[in-house]
Amino acid sequence: MKQIVVHYGELSTKGRNRKMFQAALAQQIRAKASPLDVSLKVSPQHDFMYVRFEQASYEEMIEILKDVPGIARFAPSYEVDKDLEAIKAKALELFADIHIEAGDSFKVVAKRSDKNFPYETYDIQREVGSVIGYAYPEMTVEMKRPTHKLTVSIHQKDKAYLSLSSYTGMQGLPYGSSGRGLLMLSGGFDSPIAGYLMMKRGMELEAVHFSSPPYTSPQALEKAKKLTARLSHYGLAMQFINVPFAKIQEEIKANIPDNESMTVMRRMMLRIMDQLLSERKAQAIVNGESLGQVASQTLTSMRVINDVTSSPVLRPLIATDKNEIIELAEEIGTYDISNEPYEDCCTVFAPTSPHTKPKLQQIEAMEAKLDIEQLVQEALAGITLETIDESYLRKDQARFESLL
């Protein structure tokens, strides 16, 4: 049986709610890893969690755990017989697998919960330490800050566990442990990052995309779905909610002066989001707004737009710069998808000079020309739902497999 010890970090401070957080994390790990390994067992302990498995390799499991929110760090732990020679042999094997440079140092830490084991903690450390020191004369022993730390745990049952490398996890909170939000997902760079940050904070998400065919292309819709698929890598399969928006855009174009149309459009979107929130039993709207980035993202503008809803609108990117967003997009694999050239907000409706300081009273007066309630209900009646997970991204790969 292979084993990885997962440490929660922030979870330890959750007091009575800890069990709920642990359960969410365990469920997430099971969902991600069980397709690889039917023998998977996730057993939460007080401050850490054991992930035990048979078929999957350590590499495959590490690859999965590094992208699961709520994990502070994790360490593969190798099982051997409770026999000093077996422990030494495994220790050498583990050191052979890592990169050692001249000047590196090491330390062996033994933990003995089985008091019948014939060697004391100190003996184990000395014995194991000496075979490593002998095999790697370029390394020195260092107690305070060793480059490599080997942990040997002698368990009460019949096995010993060795652990050498430790990996940093994604941090944050387990997916689904902080309620559910609806993400306004365009095809751009910002909104997927906003989604990612909330997911990392434990929020379960559904993606809402406004599309305006035939003014927007099927490729733009496809792009939003691919972004959803990429985001679901950091959580579970996600609902993709497509809202037909062309009718509303046509009405705005016909009735609202060009420079105020952006404000009215955003207000219409928020009205729809507000209704969706109760339909989908979600608690917050999430979007990718960043202060001052475009016309609709000035404080004045945001205030006028926000006036149509009392639901919380979370803007995790509000204080970030574009280059920080791009950097994160590259890191989490949404950059290449967002970078595809298909426009989401159809150019037909884009105002040439949007008003950056709209006035609420004027906007409300203009909106009187629209049958708002009717338009919102029509859009809601036309929404389509689709469940999207990571495999959506491999669609093309499977389609072209025989050719490539």
């Binding site: 490729q219 072209f400 050719l403 490539l404």
Partner: protein
Amino acid sequence: MIYLDNSATTKPYPEVIETAGTVAERYFANPSSAHQLGEEASALLKQARQQIAQILKVRADEVYFTASGTEANNWVLQGIVDALHSKNTDRKRVLLSAIEHPASLQQIELLQRKGYDVDLVPVDQWGRLDTDKLRDMLDEHVLLLSTMAVNNEVGTVQPLAAIAEIIADYPQLIWHVDGVQAVTTELELLRNKRIDLLTLSAHKFHGLRGVGVLVKKERVASYPLLYGGGQEAGQRSSTENLPAIVASAKALRLADDAQAEARRRLHDFRVQLVTALEEAGWQIFGGAYTSTHIVCAALPPIPGEVLLHAFERMGIFVSTTSACSSRSHNPHATLNAMRVSSNISNSAIRLSLSHTTTQADITAFIQALPKVTQMKGKG
């Protein structure tokens, strides 16, 4: 037919031809078209690019398709060199190894006319780049260094890891590697992280001709090679040759899959060939530094061309040292650079193997060898 001229061109794999046929028929739309057929063609192109990028361990947007390896090398020494120079006008030195392919060497005059200082980095008697000389030639004015991975005439494997280490002190230097001959057995060399530009040619690894690849890392400035519809990220306009491109991606995957096994087998074949040739009194070039799939040998004073035709009469196809130069007047640039005298180099022939070479091919060559060798006795 015993085909031992794989460094000139390889026979396309049947699967590769099948892919090209299917793509030509089913995905005939222009990848730039906005409709669904165009979209499918574009998705397929993207997938092919992705596959090549994964094999070479680079990013998909760093892979550009050209029409040939020659075209890729021309792009490097023209559009890219000019763009590098325009960013830093005090840098105008270009270094080429002395044994580069004519696709690079033939551009020296053009580079000099444009005002660049071009210097050739010499090679040793084995055909390996002289790394000490390279170290002496480097300074902060060098904007580009171009070297090969595997030499096309003699097969010498170039010390890319050592070169990477030497140029580490010159981060401004853009390093181009012509990897055209390396895919058969030395693909791993091409994954060196320090390489900024890399040239490949599909018909050298059982793909179709008409496709070259230039890997251009993000940091490398460039002027477009061809202007027009903006294909290849605006760097090389031209409607994409989708059937051949997809076939190339497939061929590279098959080559990568076959690599480890091919290395072992071809190493064994090379030992057999070299042993037989040496026993028959032939002279072998390149020594221990040669890639397993190329053998360059001579039987002076008999001209290479005569040897070639003598083998041909027995159904064995070999070449004088390079197909590109075998019809020109200076056919032995690499051997000359290795300071092999011309009465010996004129006698050189090249045997080049591939994944598809069999033991029967090697045995047939060794059996034919005495007959050709006895020409010398008859003088």
